[in-house]
């Protein structure tokens, strides 16, 4: 499942990449009301396209994919970004813990161990680290990368995120919601490539809003009660 907004330049390669890795995977592109030909390109490469009638933001778009997975009865859902920064060759790392029944949510993290080559600018590195610490503290399990959009979910995870997923800047809060709902979380080391085209949705100006919003969301999420999921075994 690939959320995309105005990624006509990259989405073709992403879909091709996933299908080249394993042609039996159903690729679903969630087009968040792009103004370019993202939907057309994705469809031409053989992806199923869910086209939102207006822009709902990354969280709402991602959740559309989870709802699709739930409705179609999938037991495994993978999410990777539409800009090509996630390498489909690393999908087995994410799938394995789920197939072994060890985790409900697998996060492709850039910081599990020191082997990763990704070195973000100082400010962003600090931000990522602070959020990771906070989520670890509030969720009761060590999390190393809470901003990753490279994840895999089993049926329980799909059910949770189809029902409950934050709307903007969702990844950090979603990780906490997953932990508090009793999902078993695993992390695997992945590399992320530099963006191929387009610009990151996180600009400098929005960073402050991002930090404040996520802090508030984490605070509120840790005060809220989440029902333990039926299938969660943690």
């Amino acid at each position: 499942m690939v959320p995309a907004w105005n990624e006509a330049g990259a989405i073709g390669r992403v879909v091709d990449g996933v299908l080249a890795f394993d042609s039996t995977i159903d690729v679903v592109v969630v087009d968040d009301a792009s103004t370019d030909d993202t939907a057309g390109v994705a469809r031409a490469r053989g992806a199923t396209v869910l086209r939102l009638p207006f822009n709902v933001g990354i969280g709402g778009a991602v959740q559309t994919g989870f709802k699709y997975a739930l409705a179609e009865g999938y037991d495994l859902a993978l999410r990777l970004d539409g800009d090509g920064q996630h390498d489909p060759a690393e999908l087995p790392k994410l799938i394995d813990p789920i197939e072994r029944g060890e985790a409900d949510l697998v996060i492709g993290s850039r910081f599990v161990d020191q082997t990763g080559t990704y070195r973000p600018p100082f400010a962003r590195r600090m931000g990522i680290r602070v959020f990771a610490r906070l989520v670890s503290l509030l969720g009761g399990q060590r999390v190393t990368d809470t901003t990753s959009g490279f994840i895999a979910l089993d049926r329980v995870g799909i059910e949770l995120f189809a029902r409950e997923y934050p709307h903007d800047y969702p990844e950090v809060e979603a990780t906490l919601v997953a932990l508090r709902s009793g999902l078993r979380l695993a992390q695997v080391q992945v590399e992320m490539r530099e963006r191929e085209t387009g610009t990151s949705s996180i600009t400098f100006v929005r960073s402050l809003y991002y930090i404040v919003k996520v802090m508030l969301a984490l605070l509120v999420a840790s005060l809220r009660r989440y029902p333990r999921l039926e299938g969660a075994r943690r």
Partner: protein, 136 residues
Amino acid sequence: MTPFRVSIVGVVASILLILVVLELVRGRRLKERYALLWLATGGVLLVLSAWRGGLNTIAGWVGVSTYPPAVLFAVATLFILLVLLHYSTVISKLTDENIELAQRVALLEEQVSRLAADESGSTRARSARVDQIAQS
């Protein structure tokens, strides 16, 4: 003491507010559930403006007995804050529902196009069969 003119202006303004709100509801331009808070605002301000003794007493309680109309401002401000907060909750709910609808539309559209493709596929198969039968 409250100046007489303040009371008169207060009463007139509150009655005007109530009348405007009622007219909007009558004309179906305002839903009853959103009119209630405004009517309560008008009602409370009307009572406080007309009941001069009460306003003076309350002003004494909150320490502004030198200028009791300040209570009117404070109460009006408080109600405006309540209305705005109420609207924020309404907007939040609408946002959630809006996104939910957009997601449903996206899922349904995909389903419809899939069904339509199946349909046209089977129609084509059927007409091919009809052609075969016609030829034999």
